[in-house]
């Protein structure tokens, strides 16, 4: 297990922890005092959750570029391109 893999694991762990915390607080707030603040927390929580695996792929790409492992860097970049198309499609609609 390399330091790089530990970093990837930690990124996923921290991302999902932040997202769940935001969703939990947002949910409680939405029930206690519904309003824009609660909604904002929930929306950010959902976006952080969706962004967590994307951040992992981004870090993977950066690491393979740093290692000059071009084949895997290209693969990671390919996944990022697909994610980019998804976000662009979502943005457009």
């Amino acid at each position: 297990m390399s330091p790089f893999e530990i970093l990837l694991g930690r990124t996923l762990g921290i991302g999902v922890t932040i997202a769940t915390a935001l969703l939990a607080v947002g949910l409680v707030l939405a029930l206690a005092a519904p309003g824009p603040a609660a909604n904002l927390l929930l929306q950010i929580g959902l976006l952080v959750l969706m962004g967590t695996p994307m951040a992992r792929v981004l870090l993977t790409c950066v690491e393979y570029v740093r290692e000059r492992d071009w084949f895997f860097a290209l693969n990671a970049a390919g996944v990022l391109v697909v994610l980019g198309i998804t976000i662009w499609q979502a943005w457009r609609s």
Partner: protein, 272 residues
């Protein structure tokens, strides 16, 4: 009223997560039909919520499993091209299909998954016997059978890519993880040890779901309150499921839950 509805969704999430963890399915396969059949949510909203729970489970499980050293990150990133393309295609298709077609598709896929599950129960996993050379995608794993670390090679990569694309497509279309479709194929056909296939798959389903979730999000198909309740429920349920899985005899439980899945599939087909 809202409180009861939220608590109910959270309970469904916990149940789905628990059952998913017991079967190695991820929460979506049970949560999505529960949300449509029990709660009457539109299918696409149930699928959107399912995707969010898939991302959460994948991240939590991967963060824990990285320490084992069984996740094959290089194989993962190669197959993720196929799964994310499949996810994107599935997400776009889901926006165009009628709820009836989606219910139908879910029923058929759930029946197929139940079939794969029953086959897995009666069949032993393929343990690679050790290769002199890991190749460019292979790696090492600890074999319980040989009681030492063995090297494995990844075979038939094009086949693995095709299976990954299909699994990604199903994930984006129906809001489930799709791991159950990849893991047996990677193990039986591509020479990947079962544990490596399972952990690498649980890593991949997160980014796969993230390749279609934004489409659901922007279409307004991820209701924030229900999604939050489901994610929180699934997080608790998954932990509970792993706890039970370590202590209970899994076999009869799997058969029972497999039959529940068949029942769910039939309900979805009837609904369609």
């Amino acid at each position: 009223m809202t409180l009861i509805a939220i608590a109910g969704v959270m309970a469904l999430g916990a149940l789905g997560g628990m059952v998913g963890a017991l079967l190695g399915l991820g929460g979506g396969v049970f949560l999505v039909p529960a949300l449509t059949l029990v709660y009457g949510l539109p299918f696409r909203e149930a699928a959107g919520i399912g995707l969010m729970t898939v991302i959460a489970t994948s991240s939590v499980v991967s963060a824990q499993r990285v320490g084992d050293g069984t996740v094959n990150f290089r194989l993962g990133i190669v197959l993720e091209i196929a799964t994310t393309l499949g996810g994107l295609a599935g997400g776009l298709t889901a926006q165009a299909l009628s709820p009836r077609t989606l219910h139908l598709a879910f029923g058929v896929v759930a029946l197929f998954i139940a079939g794969v599950m029953f086959r897995q129960i009666s069949r032993r996993a393929v343990t690679p016997q050790g290769d002199p050379d890991a190749g460019w995608l292979g790696g090492e794993f600890y074999s319980d059978e040989h009681r030492r670390r063995l090297t494995y090679r990844v075979r038939r990569l094009p086949l693995a890519l095709v299976v990954s694309f299909i699994a990604g497509n199903v994930s984006g279309l129906l809001g489930i993880g799709g791991g159950i479709l990849k893991v047996p194929a990677l193990n039986a056909w591509c020479g990947v040890p079962l544990r490596v296939a399972a952990t690498t798959s649980s890593l991949m389903i997160g980014v796969t779901a993230a390749a279609s979730a934004p489409l659901y999000y922007s279409a307004g198909d991820i209701p924030p309150l229900y999604a939050a309740a489901s994610v929180l429920g699934v997080m608790v349920g998954t932990r509970g499921g792993f706890w039970i899985a370590e202590r209970a005899r899994a076999r009869s439980l799997k058969v029972l839950l497999g039959m529940v899945l068949v029942f769910v599939a039939v309900m979805m087909l009837v609904r369609a």
